[in-house]
Amino acid sequence: MSTLEIRGLQVSVNTDAGAVEILKGVDLTIKSGETHAIMGPNGSGKSTLAYSIAGHPKYSITGGTVTLDGVDLLEMTVDERAKAGLFLAMQYPVEVPGVSVSNFLRTAVTALRGEAPKLRTWTGEVKDAMEALKMDPAFATRNVNEGFSGGEKKRHEIMQLELLKPKIAILDETDSGLDVDALRIVSEGVVRAKEANNLGVLLITHYTRILRYIKPDFVHVFANGKIVEEGGAELAEKLEANGYAEYVGS
């Protein structure tokens, strides 16, 4: 049983014109097995929240705490947070030229497990994970995200989620840019990871369609750098119908 606890999180981004405050006090608790959806308008700070928890160097934490099972995540390096059990599926996965997917995955799993996996079983695990996400085995020899289509990048993120087995996963618009079939395939991957590892999920999305596959226990409305309303799955339907007008511009 794991708990990610975010308390009063304030974050600013460093720009040429100085620091700009983006997150204005975020409170959120995610436990193993729970699914939290965050919905909110463009630019409200959802990715900022995701990146800040994962430790992206572009953001400065100006207040608040983030802990995983009581341990301060904000003091950790990016890789230490991953080793502590955190995973971030990125809105825009990064291309790494010259580094093959298989080399990348092997390096990552070795780092996370503290020892190299047995070659034979590992090869099998990767093959199964790729098959489950309907990815061509040829992706293993391609360079990380290089030349992948938008949808392929997202499948690759969820394939990593299944292979790396984190405790808490933040999925930043994993559903954006997916066709109907891919949405189902990717969603099933998330559900499998939840069932296999009792994963806690923070799912950032603009659409309710992914929530048909991955049922949220909680829906949070995010606007102007903080959570402005919380509810159950029915809140998502209401947002889709009415938009965010009542939460912004005040």
Binding site: G55, T77, D79, L88, E95, V96, A111
Partner: protein, 362 residues
């Protein structure tokens, strides 16, 4: 050229061709004050048929072209023979031909001439492995008859303190293709002048290279591609990394498309990765075009640091910073190193690159 020529134009450092090179560190190779010994550090290993290796005396080995490089002029005057590798026409040499040079001595200089000649429609891969303590000036010529195909790999894995100046000049005839892969990872000062001269239509070249300079090392790669006939194609791609105080690399890409060279297709690229402060990468692509009737001509040059987004992505999967940097640097060089096509050499180079990076205190 007369053997009695003595009025060399000793470079002062103001000449375009020498403006980046620290002349003081050449040990007198450029001004004639270097003591020249009588060494022959190059050896040949191959039993392939259709391949001949011999040392031809200077008097019998006239060069197909003059050289304007003063060091090469001195080499041509001073070397007693030309190590000549000949691949007979229509011979396809399946195994890699290795020329290994294990230089041993910094007290006197070695002047060396090498010529590699391919007969019509011959095909071969030649690797020149350079190791040891070098104080070397070297003139390498390639003569590619019509339809021939040569891949030439030169590995500069010199010990610290080595000085190596070389010209690699390829004369490429009709429909022949020349591919060179240059790797410079060792030595104190290395200055290579890869050049290609197309003399027949349909000829092509691919000049690839990687270099990694650490503290105090100076590596210069100065290309010249001369499109003097129509419909030839050239590609240049050099990648370098630098780390440490005083690491300095120079890449010059001169491409000349003469009036007669209609249908030319050329592109050159140089990318540098600066891994620390105190290092300097000079990168100067230069296209001179005398005809507009070409297929394409372009160049690009970039010098940058580690990409934070790439490091973040890798680290967010649990990979620690030093390993993430190692992956990114290996990935950066991978595209060119894999072109060598020899797993043992590739692994050795990648290990060396890892070590250089580790030394640089990542």
């Amino acid at each position: 050229m007369s053997l009695l020529t003595t009025n060399y134009l000793t470079p002062t450092g103001r000449e375009e061709a020498w403006r980046f090179t620290p002349l003081k560190r050449l040990g007198g190779l450029h001004d004639g004050t270097a003591k020249v010994g009588d060494r022959q550090s190059l050896s040949y290993k191959s039993s392939a048929s259709g391949v001949k290796f011999e040392r031809i005396s200077r008097e019998l080995a006239t060069s197909p072209v003059e050289t304007d490089d003063v060091v090469m002029q001195r080499v041509r005057e001073g070397a007693h023979n030309v190590a000549t590798l000949t691949i007979a026409a229509n011979t396809e040499v399946a195994e890699t031909i290795t020329l290994s040079r294990s230089a041993q001595g910094l007290d006197s200089a070695e002047f060396s001439r090498v010529r590699i000649e391919l007969g019509a429609h011959a095909r071969a891969t030649v690797i020149m492995e350079n190791t040891g303590d070098a104080f070397l000036a070297e003139d390498v010529e390639f003569v590619l008859a019509p339809g021939s195909n040569l891949t030439f790999v030169s590995l500069q894995e010199w010990n610290t303190g080595s000085t190596h100046l070389a010209k690699h000049h390829a004369i490429v005839d009709r429909d022949a293709s020349f591919k060179s892969i240059t790797v410079t990872v060792g030595g104190s000062l290395v200055r290579l002048l890869p050049s290609v001269e197309f003399i027949g239509q349909g000829a092509s070249c691919e000049l690839l290279g990687v270099y990694f300079a650490t503290e105090g090392q100076f590596f210069e790669h100065r290309m010249f591609v001369d499109h003097k006939v129509p419909n030839a194609k050239s590609r240049v791609n050099y990648k370098g990394a630098l780390a440490g105080q005083g690491a300095h690399t120079v890449w010059i890409g001169d491409v000349f498309i003469r009036a007669a060279a209609e249908g030319t297709d050329t592109y050159e690229l140089n990318r540098n990765l600066l891994l620390s402060d105190g290092a300097r990468a000079d990168s100067v692509p230069n296209l001179e075009i005398e005809t507009g009737e070409i297929v394409g001509a372009g160049h690009a040059s970039t010098t940058g640091r580690f990409d934070d987004e790439q490091l973040f992505y890798l680290m967010s999967r649990g990979i620690e910073l030093s390993d993430a940097r190692r992956l990114v640097v290996r990935g950066f060089f991978n595209e060119i190193v894999t072109e060598i096509g020899d797993a043992v050499i590739q692994d050795r180079l990648m290990d060396r690159i890892d070590n250089e990076l580790a030394k640089a205190g990542s």
